[in-house]
Symmetry: none
Subunit: 213 residues, 4 copies
DNA sequence: CATGAATGAGTATTCATTCAT
DNA sequence: TATGAATGAATACTCATTCAT
């Protein structure tokens, strides 16, 4: 799924070996600053200059590195999306199949609650993909990456007899991902009225029911 | 649900009676033009001028009426959102309860397929609400309006014995709406790889399963 | 001098005889509204529409009557400037000569204090004349009208032996008018720190001294 | 007084040392161009773009530096007003007291005649202060700076016995400044009919008379 | 006479992008 | 590598002016 993990930022960290190191670090900091700002204001209502300054660099640096605003948005999307999967491993303590599927779903909600900034950016990117050709490709890949482990677990569950045979693994996996995203979106829009834990519990319960053999 | 109905626009129609008529018509046409353009390019990448021209008016009219770009986006959101519910009646041929609930869900997919332009705008607005305070309020109202009929039908279904008693009507209704939206979003992003009818069938089937007594 | 008198406004007044009457009244009210607004914001930072509405008419009426913004400003300047002299008569209780001259000067300060709105507009027009060709003509006439009675009284005073013979009537009259305007301007800019009565007293005293035989 | 000195502009001058230098120079040139244009057309009827171009830069630079038109007008006012006093020194060859006071007054007229562009801008700013809150503050400071040396010289003159004891130094100083400004305004509005030298002579003569012991 | 709808030119303003330092 | 000065295109917004009712 579109899991989200925090990078190991070392703000005031170790001696920069080379210029390459410095560049890497600057790029990372710029992307982190972009993340914070985009989470608040969306993918359009920010300026390159303010991201440079928010990252502690000059107004001109984002353009210098990412070439253009579009370039930065693309890098940000890649950065966020590529966080995907790193966290999925944590669900692997459960055996493949229904158990792990439920673990993966749980993890989706947990990781959204743990890192709402990144989550918000991810969903901004997902929303933008509706009308932005360039992002659609990346999102297509994300979808494939996200659906596969779900479908795999459905198949494993069917094989293990935990999941009803008549379930269409791929279609259902898509639907599960949609449901996860829809639920998290609701929460992101209105976190005060929607309790993420309750939603998660309901989601898991309904998932069990509808997959049960 | 966030149902969507097309207005009976009469583009080249009859003589304008009064000044009020003229104004009303101009406003309607501007919003229609905005709808078309926003569906393609999202809520930011358009200009007020092009909307004026696309509507057959001057470049300045949108600003004149809506005051600002933000004002137009707000009016568009209201326009789209207030279309909600008009179509819900069509599902009322079914008796209140599970039947009608499934009808409502079906209708959601059908109406998305029938009017992809409006649907796309609606979902652009939903996405924008993540990072746009002004839209959030409107979406909050939409959510309430959308969840209520679903929850009502769940309660009716429980009363009628069609739906399991242990179902939490409100939480489940929210989750169902989320699922509908998530599924439609997936289709909007990638209509070529996702077949709306299949998704609908899967969704309905899984809904039945998870609500079954 | 640029004396200032209140017009005999009859706001809710007698039955309008003719359409001409109505037009006259509308024009007067528009100019009064313009006066108030210009006194606050100067001769540029207002819109025709707001004057129409402030006068209790439609947004379009000022353009309808005065043709253009420039037209309205011109009419306003004429309106204000033509108030000149009507009040001068009040100083004529004094005999022509030094006495009346001092009365006229006094009256200038008094009338500014009594009607600061009009005074402010008059001085806005005077200031604008620095860089606005169209207004310069009107101001030229105003100057001539304003200087003449002063100069006449100086001559009368010389003839009567109240004023030193070596005084150049015209040059001194110009200087007196300048002094009056300069002093009133200071007060208008900073009414809290400048007491008009004190300024008047000082002005009169210094005038006496410098004209004394 | 509101004395006015020309800066030593080097339009096509030497290589720019640092970025700071570049910026300073650009700012100065923009203000000079603004001065020229405002002197002709007043504080409203100009565009930021034309000032940029008149200064030999791009259309966008004025907005880039001064943020807004209002910002530029403010900077221009400060620029003009802060020129104050630099020239006052020239009157200091006379001993403090009546002599120097008359010198200062003379200098006021001379400097207006020598630099009519700046003088015109200064008086446009003075006029605008009537209806522009932001400028009023600056003008308040200018007034204080302008009145003080006059009042000081009056006091010195009284001490030296050159000036009548009964003169109220501050009130009279304000009145003198008003008279100077009023007289120069008249000349600026109608330079063809008003001879600055004659006005100056009359002013000085009348000043002597009214201050004489 | 009076209203207010609609136009469209004029401009401030923003900011990605380029370029000199 | 990094800064920030300068550009100039894009565009929101204002509002006098015109015109239909």
């Amino acid at each position: 799924m579109d899991a989200v993990v925090s990078t190991n930022a070392k703000p005031g960290a170790a001696a920069r070996r080379s210029q390459l190191e410095r560049r890497r670090e600057a790029e990372r900091r710029l992307l982190q600053a972009a993340e914070r700002i985009v989470a608040e204001r969306g993918l359009e209502r920010f300026t390159l200059a303010e991201i440079g300054e928010a990252a502690g660099y000059s107004r001109g640096l984002p353009a210098h590195y990412f070439g253009s605003k579009e370039g930065l948005v693309g890098a940000l999307a890649t950065h966020i999306v590529s966080g995907f999967g790193r966290g999925a491993a944590r669900a692997e303590k459960h055996p493949a199949g229904l158990e792990r599927l439920l673990g993966v779903a749980s993890y989706y909600f947990e990781s959204a609650g743990r890192d709402p900034v990144r989550t918000r950016v991810l969903f901004a990117v997902l929303g933008e993909a509706l009308t932005n050709e360039a992002l659609r490709t990346r999102i297509g890949e994300l979808n494939a990456h996200s659906v596969k482990p779900i479908a795999d677990n459905i198949r494993a569950g069917i094989a293990a007899g935990d999941i009803r045979k008549s379930v269409n693994a791929n279609a259902t996996a898509t639907l599960i991902l949609s449901g996860l995203r829809g639920a998290v979106t609701q929460w992101l829009i209105d976190p005060k009225h929607i309790d993420l834990k309750t939603v998660r519990a309901e989601f898991i319960a309904s998932l069990k029911r509808s997959l049960a053999p």
